[in-house]
Symmetry: C2
Subunit: 309 residues, 2 copies
Amino acid sequence: MSFGTVAIIGLGLQGGSIGLAVQEHLPGTQTTGYDLSPAHRARAAERALVHRVCETPAEAVENADLVIFCVPPGVMGLAAEQVRDALPARALVSDVGSSKQAISKALGEALPDHMVIPAHPVAGTENSGPDAGFAHLFRNRWCIVTPAARTDLVKLSELVGFWEALGANVEIMTPEHHDLVLAVTSHVPHLIAYTIVGTASDLEDVTQGEVIKYSAGGFRDFTRIAASDPTMWRDVFLSNKEAVLTMLQRFTEDLTALQRAIRVGDGQALFDQFTRTRAIRRSIIEEGQDDSRPDFGRGDHEAGVDAAE
Amino acid sequence: MSFGTVAIIGLGLQGGSIGLAVQEHLPGTQTTGYDLSPAHRARAAERALVHRVCETPAEAVENADLVIFCVPPGVMGLAAEQVRDALPARALVSDVGSSKQAISKALGEALPDHMVIPAHPVAGTENSGPDAGFAHLFRNRWCIVTPAARTDLVKLSELVGFWEALGANVEIMTPEHHDLVLAVTSHVPHLIAYTIVGTASDLEDVTQGEVIKYSAGGFRDFTRIAASDPTMWRDVFLSNKEAVLTMLQRFTEDLTALQRAIRVGDGQALFDQFTRTRAIRRSIIEEGQDDSRPDFGRGDHEAGVDAAE
């Protein structure tokens, strides 16, 4: 393992999970960490998310071979500026942000003398903060690494090895392509989920109590996604504006077509659309990217709870 | 228990689950069943979804005290016509359809001399067919019963008791209100999920393989919902057209507002919207309508699989 000390800036879901995963999978590696919130630092220390929780970002990075910024996309540049003077010249700079073009630019500008290789582990839950992380978050998930054209290949392979050690599969692509792919597999789905949950909250003729009671009809799945961290998601949409707007336009056209099919009673168009979406689900399960149990295994869990009663 | 014999027409997810639940919770009750598909009848018999799988709908209902139609909304009337001559006068007629105004009308017209009390258990998974049912599907879920104005209150209380015996909580409302509530908690979410999965399949600059690989960013949740039975969902949208179009209009307005916020860079509007949607999630979990484990407990399950390896 090439990184003797890994510094983690931001000890939420991603940062905390990296800290725990490094301690589990790379026992020779030292981990340091910093979080802007004193309460989060205290909790991170209690949970031992990293070996040493530091009181300043400078202290956290002073001996780092790799520093990973795990802060919301909008403050990546600011967080990087705060470590500039303390960060060893040898240190590789990376991150876990959900958009890559804007973050690559921000990190590169803040740390012009360091090698920056951005990355994005496509893994998470709806939870956030220092209690949210767990060591196997990245297992069998994909981590997308988006090197610039003039990237040091040795550093690149070290970063790839690091994520593989944490259990992830690594894919390399350009920041531009990353932002387009994630717009459709993550950003637009989140925006839609936030929207429908908001729509349901605002109705006059259906009460919030009814929305909650009858949420098992499908709505509850959207509420899980819409419980994700608001700050991070605000920044994702602001930092990947162009790709998100492009994909939203496509989505809206497709929704309008289905809406028209409902209005004119075109059952065949609805049936055809509803049939072809099943194949993608099958592939996702076959490739180990989701649980094959019906209803995400909710029934199994409930059965388990009952059995234990 | 007031129903000596319960006949189930349609032995898919709902019908099969009712058959299994009755056998578990109401041991004194006889169950008969029929499915249009010979292969499904054979499989239903193998799984013993009901005590007796019959070769015709008439045979299935000939001694019924309660007949429950568990077929797609669009063929409820047709299925009811097929049992008219064989159904005892005393038999109560009900169903499990996801829209209620259209189905109430269809059942009432097909069986004008019988008491009809429509119902809708708000419970399900993405699976369908005779292998999909399980006995505890209805446990701690809501079943909405939508009696007409001139309903026999004794029959109504028997039907309520039946669903409560199967583990459900029962709520009574008008068919009109049901259709509005379900449009927002179930129908529009399904339409949106079908749409985004279709949009993702049609892109030129993002491959289907990429969509599958990086689906853990949120998209995979939508693919589960979009794997639901196409025939049933076609019929739901055609039979609840007005409420679905009304709710879609509201959703589209809200989505357009967020789209504009992204375009003009209004981070505060995004943050405010993303913050207020968390409360609904908390209430859904508090009221036992969803699993509180992060990411629907996918991580726990994966950990379990690994532990068993």
